[in-house]
């Protein structure tokens, strides 16, 4: 990320007012997300936003008029096709990394139980002492990742049925589960956006998905296991 805007002393650029402060120029940073991962993230973010909006208007009677003329249905179908194709291309380009990433979602241990016990104190009151050290993804991020993979697969399967097999008896049940998946994903997507943009403890971490970098201090305090691993490799 190359920002030309040199912050004058005492003034913060508008982007940082919204998304939180970037790591300072003198700060030591670590690479957290590769360029391909970032592109995958933003393609997913944009297509899912389109999918949520064009899907929700069928769900909320007050907005359903916006679906007239099938334009939103067309957008919905194409956003779905783009994100599926993109995820497929990503997998083909990075088969090893993808498999490792997917496996990571299902690696659970005693520190995850510790996370669950400490989560309320940590996220509401900033109590860090009880929070066990976390890996590249912490337990909450892993839960979100499991949900993205699992509910994402559900959405793809039910979506294909709804798109291509309208006259089949399976359509109605596919529609039911598609709606259910949407509810769960939308609620958790709100949590995801909130934590990465607004939560006081995570403020500024948004930029790691823009430039791939995270301050060493943040890595150490939020992802100790991962921090130890990468700094050990570097030495």
């Amino acid at each position: 990320m190359t920002t030309s805007a040199k912050a004058k002393p005492g003034s913060t650029p508008a982007s940082e007012v919204i998304f939180g402060p970037k790591p300072g120029s003198g700060e030591k940073v670590l690479t957290r997300y590769s360029k391909q991962v970032r592109i995958l993230h933003w393609v997913t973010a944009i297509t899912w936003t389109i999918l949520f909006i064009t899907g929700l208007i069928l769900f909320v009677p007050a907005f359903s008029g916006a679906a007239e003329g099938s334009i939103t249905t067309l957008l919905h179908h194409w956003a779905a096709i783009i994100v599926c194709v993109w995820a497929g291309v990503f997998f083909v380009l990075n088969p090893k990394g993808s498999m490792e990433g997917i496996k990571f979602a299902f690696k659970w241990g005693k520190d995850d139980i510790g996370w669950a016990k400490a989560a309320v104190g940590y996220y509401f009151f900033g109590k860090e002492d009880k929070m066990p050290p976390q890996d590249h993804m912490n337990t909450g991020q892993k839960m979100w990742w499991v949900l993205v993979l699992g509910a994402g697969a559900l959405m793809v399967i039910t979506g294909i049925i709804m798109m291509f097999f309208k006259t089949s008896g399976a359509f109605m049940w596919a529609g039911t589960f598609h709606a259910l998946g949407m509810v769960v994903l939308l609620a958790m997507a709100l949590v995801h956006v909130y934590l990465s943009v607004f939560h006081p403890k995570m403020r500024g971490i948004f930029w790691s998905m823009v430039n791939g970098k995270v301050s060493a201090h943040y890595a150490e305090s939020h992802h100790k296991k991962w921090y130890d691993e990468v700094t050990k490799h570097k030495k």
Partner: protein
Amino acid sequence: MAEKAILYDASKCTACRGCQIACKEWNQLPGEKTTNRGTIENPPDLSPNTWLKMRFIEVGDDGDFRWLFGRQSCMHCTEAGCVEVCPTKALYYHDMGFVAYDKDKCSGCGYCVAACPFNVPRPSGSPIGIRHTTKCTMCQDRVVEGDLPACVKTCLSGALQFGDRSEMLALGKARVSALKSKSPKANLYGENELGGLHVLYVLEDEPSVYGLPVDPKITVAATAWQDVIRPLGWAVAGAAVLGLGLNYIIAKRKIQLKSKGE
């Protein structure tokens, strides 16, 4: 406005298929290229361009063979699955009782296709293009002007009639009792099905023989996403927003206090 209905008397039908053609003509639906499947029943199924299709049903064997004629099109239910599920209300109940349809409002979602117990609505277009769902409109543009639906207008044998529903019911019942002596299984279909259909059939045999559902119902799955998942969605989304707002208020204070104390 008095509720209207079409009465189809299968015992009077000669299966000339004039109604099929009249439907296509009035609604400007193009013909379809089909292949010979060894039956006069053609085209093989309803489609975005075929809203009405006659059925040719062969029953029995040598000696006891009957050739029955049936009709497949929208039944214009009082409690219609398609209307119940339609998110944009492109499908709606008309004052005259039939299920009217505003194609411009259709979002092409296809819920009506699966919700119909009679398997009538058909999606037009392709999955990756603009889609609309189509079905018989009971020639709304004609009947609101006091004219007959195109299919009724063209019917030569008097098998199709159109008028006040109560009148059509009385006619249908009278016809059934007249048929009883020849066809003991004769019955009137549509009086009470789904709150009463606005297309009534005088049949010479069981409805199932004509390919009609014996006890048509709107399935639970058809309306579950509206009746169960929609309120659940509001609850979950509301809880998420409330929880996050609460977290923000508490965490902002506590964590700032902490950093000041350090």
